[in-house]
Symmetry: C2
Subunit: 280 residues, 2 copies
């Protein structure tokens, strides 16, 4: 890996993205940031060692999973080495000096628009416009001097582009969290790892999922989450993603993985890492 | 229910949407169609009997679940009475007489854009723009006379708006299916129902999910699918959605539901309906 004075962290989106906030929260402020156009490029940047680490959102407490990143975890040879739960606060952001009642258009990522649907519906005569990015929407209305437009994004995005928060905290549900995963090109889990993520597939026979979960239940290993993802090219067959308590250095977890290996047609450990128990 | 000559079916999107194709495939062509702006309005239209039935996408073989519709199933008092698997073929659609190499912008729903990412990346010097709707994008480029723009949508959308298919089948993966659910305001399942959908939540204790699945596995009842959804306002607690083979009129399914009822903190049957075993 090329030597750097400060670690370089890749994330998806423009400067001011929620992923940038997550990166600084996890690594501190003395990092280099590598904004990437897509999640795929985040994975590729870490794989090619252009960046030391990557950080990607995997799950939102309101909208559910960011499925694309589950697929990318499967495709790329990176390991999850950490996680971070971030409270998401969306803000309505416009040009300085512009009043809320002169806003006629609101831009943001469809996910953010969905999370603010109730509150934006109260803004009369306003057109909601889907965009690729939250922070990118702030950049857009600034660069294109759209004085009657606002964007939904983070406070950091408003600061980054010298724009003004017209309305703070406009998400419909105040309990809005996103879980981020930290990725590295390594095979060694952190010493204090107490949570493991894996993916497996099963023969399509009755009771297969039940038998696979017995590998954990019979050893009193707690599951944090289960997610099924369609297998590309095989409609209605699934990969299962599981997060469990423990790490494969513990004998009972090692046994559970060996047991699951007997049942599964495919099994890949995605990483072991310290659990972020904060709800913030 | 108000008497109508032909059944009225609500769907989300503009005329020409994939949901409209699904509605005609399921009910035949002698139906009235009620296009709705949002999925929420589809549910509300059926609940208020403005429409006899509604049809909504629930899962795509590439992109995964349409989570919002899982949440709406929980919120509204409708029953699933049918399902339909539709092969999705995306097309690049432009104005008649316009050549493919003069296209500079491509509009569509982010989901459709994602499914065509590989192929649209091959179009040189083209800007990809997210929009709310596939068929709505065709309507937009027609009404705004955007001659150097194309939209990604169904063949029906091209026909509906008198536009031309510039490139047929531009999705990256030809095996692209969407499963639609048919909803009604009824408590009576169809006589030939052989598949049941339900949602439940569990105490957050080790082995809870395993014990809940035992209700099915111990009775040799096949599970088609499991999906976990975050509980709104309770970060990192989950609802589980399950589809299983059978219907509650069968004694073993009735017993499984009673057994699951002992374990679950919440349980709701969303409907029993004939399974669509077609992959096309």
């Amino acid at each position: 890996m090329p030597k750097r004075n400060s670690p370089c962290v890749a994330f998806q989106g423009e400067r001011g993205a929620y992923s940038e906030i997550a990166a600084c929260r996890f690594f501190g402020n003395s990092i280099e940031l590598l904004p990437c156009e897509s999640f795929d490029l985040v994975f590729k940047s870490v794989e090619s060692q252009k960046a030391d680490s990557g950080i990607v959102p995997i799950e939102n407490s309101q909208a559910g999973c960011i499925h694309q990143n589950y697929d990318l975890l499967l495709k790329h040879r990176l390991r999850i080495v950490g996680e971070l739960n971030l409270r998401v606060e969306h803000n309505l952001i416009g040009h300085p000096g512009v009043a809320l009642n002169s806003i006629r258009m609101v831009f943001s990522h469809p996910q953010a628009l969905m999370q603010c649907q109730g509150n934006t519906a109260k803004l009369k005569g306003v057109k909601i416009v889907a965009a690729y990015d939250t922070a990118g929407s702030v950049k857009k209305i600034k660069e294109e001097r759209l004085l009657n437009a606002a964007a939904i994004a983070s406070e950091l995005a408003a600061r980054t582009y010298g724009m003004k928060i017209l309305k703070k905290g406009i998400q419909d549900n105040p309990e809005n969290f996103t879980r981020f995963l930290v990725l590295r090109k390594t095979q060694t889990p952190p010493a204090d790892a107490n949570k493991t993520s894996l993916v497996f597939s099963l023969k399509n026979v009755p009771g297969a999922l039940f038998r696979s979960l017995s590998a954990f239940a019979l050893r009193d290993i707690d599951l944090y989450k289960i997610e099924s993802r369609p297998l590309h090219g095989k409609p209605w067959e699934y990969f299962f993603y599981i997060d469990f308590a423990g790490n494969p250095k513990e004998p009972n977890c090692r046994s559970a993985l060996a047991h699951l290996g007997e049942i599964a047609t495919f099994l890949k450990v995605l990483g072991s890492y310290p659990r972020d128990a904060r709800k913030l």
